[in-house]
């Protein structure tokens, strides 16, 4: 994980810097960079931003909970991923009381589980409960369905653009 601040930005470029977030990874920007992640199926992208402090972050989580996993990669799980992202944002100046969350992904495409809910649904349940525990309001979401998504978080505005292969794109 790297934090993208104004010193790493390309000041001469008129375009906003774009930073890719891979699966089970997170990134934080303090320089209004655009954070992107692609190919979300049952995975969820959780975007957190604090307008006042100018800090935004995005994590791409794969599974609900790191419970019982030895030495987990925090960003792979919804519970530890959100917590880690939040702590990193606070470290670079975000204020927890001003942080808002947006979430997209968690499709139930290709869910072969016969009993109980699928991973997409359980991922979302975990995100809701973790955000609730941390006191971060969830302001909008685009979750579920049976299609994949790619995300673009505008670090400056907190706009989260959700693009799908067959259903066009929308900003939440």
């Amino acid at each position: 994980m790297k934090v993208y601040d104004s010193s790493t930005g390309t000041a001469s470029s008129p375009e906003q810097e774009r930073v890719k977030v891979g699966i089970a990874e997170y990134e934080v920007t303090t320089s209004d960079a655009t954070l992107t992640t692609s190919g979300l199926g049952s995975c969820l992208g959780v975007a957190l931003y604090d307008h006042g402090a100018g800090v935004a972050g995005l994590v791409h989580v794969m599974l609900p909970s790191a419970d019982g996993v030895e030495d987990p990669n925090a960003a792979k799980y919804a519970d530890t991923g959100i917590e880690t992202l939040l702590l990193e944002m606070e470290r670079v100046g975000a204020n927890r009381d001003s942080i808002h969350a947006k979430v997209a992904g968690g499709s139930d495409m290709l869910d072969f589980s016969e009993n109980g809910s699928g991973i997409g649904v359980r991922n979302m349940e975990q995100v809701e409960s973790t955000l609730d525990d941390l006191g971060v309001p969830l302001v909008s979401e685009d979750v579920g369905g049976d299609h994949g998504r790619s995300l673009r978080l505008d670090g400056a505005s907190g706009d989260l653009t959700v693009k799908s292969a067959n259903k066009g794109s929308k900003t939440i």
Partner: protein, 401 residues
């Protein structure tokens, strides 16, 4: 020779950290913030290594490794990378004669970064030869094979230079016998996979792919060739990176038995159109990818899945059932991600069985990806041993007669 899952994980991790270290060296020298996309260990035919490089103009910096680790390692840069890299070096100028010596020098430093972690882990030294500079197209950038048909392990790292849309790669091809000995020695003996059976399994998969390819030809008249089969091992979060994020059409099933897991048959959109239309008795009504196309792909996927899975079941002498195929039409990584997540509920790493087929005549590419449960794959391999114990060597030719 038995290699346990833990040592596969450890060695994959060493390669991943080595690639990160090499990339950090590059950043230190040039300020270029490249990122390691994925590192995996793959067992495949020597002749097929580097097939993903086909058609690219490349520069390779090759090294011989000696000491605790014996073999060849090559840093592969897209030719278009070398100019910007040299310019980024302190005092760098992009004159042709400068490029070769600068890239060699940089390669040398990156290589020390790559092997340091291995040397630490093995508690000994690994020496590397001076760098050798090669300009070539495709897989020719890698050292020539002594025995093209031999199955070998290769560690591949795919590194991306964001912003420039340029890539480079690290290929490490260790001597097979010595590597498997090292892996066997560093393991605990628990959850062991018999590595020689792993290559038999690869051969079986190749047969399964050939059957699936024959199904395609039989049904559509499309002659397929260049089937590549490999089995890789990677952290589950790296599994979706096995496919491109462009749109694919295909089918997915869950299979159950020994082993159980998931199987995907994926066509890129253009290939899916071609295959579907070759199957249709008449011109489709409507524009683009219609419901008729979709049901043709479903049928194709069903037949190819059976061909592929029956191949395993025959050799393993078990029955492997599968669910009806579900048709998917979506971004590649979004298709594979829910399946990787389902496997990832029980295991940190996954075996990925992968086959590709294509044809020269028309735009046609098909990828088959299987994600078996690793405990059951181990069991299947053990049973393969027991079932064939009267034979001195498991022989795929006779098994498939």
């Amino acid at each position: 020779m038995e290699v346990d899952i833990q040592s596969l994980e450890t060695f994959n991790q060493l390669a991943a950290e080595g690639a990160q270290q090499a990339t950090a060296m590059l950043a230190q020298m040039t300020g270029i913030q490249a990122e390691v996309e994925v590192t995996k260990i793959t067992l495949m035919d020597r002749a097929d290594i580097g097939e993903e490089l086909a058609g690219q103009e490349l520069v390779g910096i090759g090294f011989d490794l000696e000491g605790a680790l014996v073999g060849d390692t090559t840093l592969v840069f897209e030719e278009a990378c070398t100019g910007p890299i040299v310019e980024a070096l302190p005092g760098g100028a992009a004159g042709d004669e400068m490029v070769e010596s600068s890239v060699k020098e940089l390669g040398n430093i990156m290589m020390s970064g790559f092997i340091d972690g291995w040397a630490d882990f093995l508690g000994t030294t690994i020496e590397h030869s001076p760098p050798e500079y090669v300009e070539a197209t495709g897989a020719d950038v890698l050292p020539a094979a002594d025995d093209p048909n031999e199955q070998v392990f290769v560690f591949k790292s795919h590194i991306e230079w964001p912003g420039e849309d340029l890539y480079f790669y690290i290929y490490m091809l260790p001597a097979y016998d010595q590597l498997t000995e090292l892996m066997a020695d560093s393991g605990t003996g628990e959850d062991a996979v018999p590595v020689d059976k792993l290559s038999v399994f690869n051969e079986m998969t190749k047969e399964g792919t050939a059957t699936a390819a024959a199904n395609v030809t039989q049904m559509t008249g499309i002659e397929t060739d260049a089937e590549v089969t490999q089995i890789s091992f990677a952290p589950v979060e790296d599994v979706p990176k096995q496919v491109d994020n462009k749109a694919y059409v295909g089918t997915a099933v869950e299979f159950s038995g020994t082993p159980s897991g998931y199987l995907m048959i994926l066509f890129d959109e253009e290939s899916a159109m071609n295959v579907a239309e070759a199957l249709m008795p008449m011109e489709p009504e409507g524009e683009g990818f219609t419901d008729m196309h979709e049901s043709a792909i479903e049928e194709m996927g069903n037949i190819m899945t059976s061909g592929f899975i029956d191949g395993w079941a025959n050799v393993l002498e078990t029955s492997v059932d599968h669910t009806p195929p579900r048709v998917v039409h979506d971004m590649g990584r979004a298709i594979i991600d829910p399946l990787a997540a389902q496997v990832g509920q029980h295991q940190e790493h996954a075996f990925i069985i992968e086959s590709h087929m294509q044809t020269a005549d028309l735009e046609f590419g098909c990828e088959i990806h299987a994600l078996p449960d690793d405990a059951e794959l181990r069991q299947a391999l053990e049973e393969l041993d027991v079932a064939r114990k009267d034979e001195t060597e498991p022989d795929v030719e006779t098994i498939f007669e």
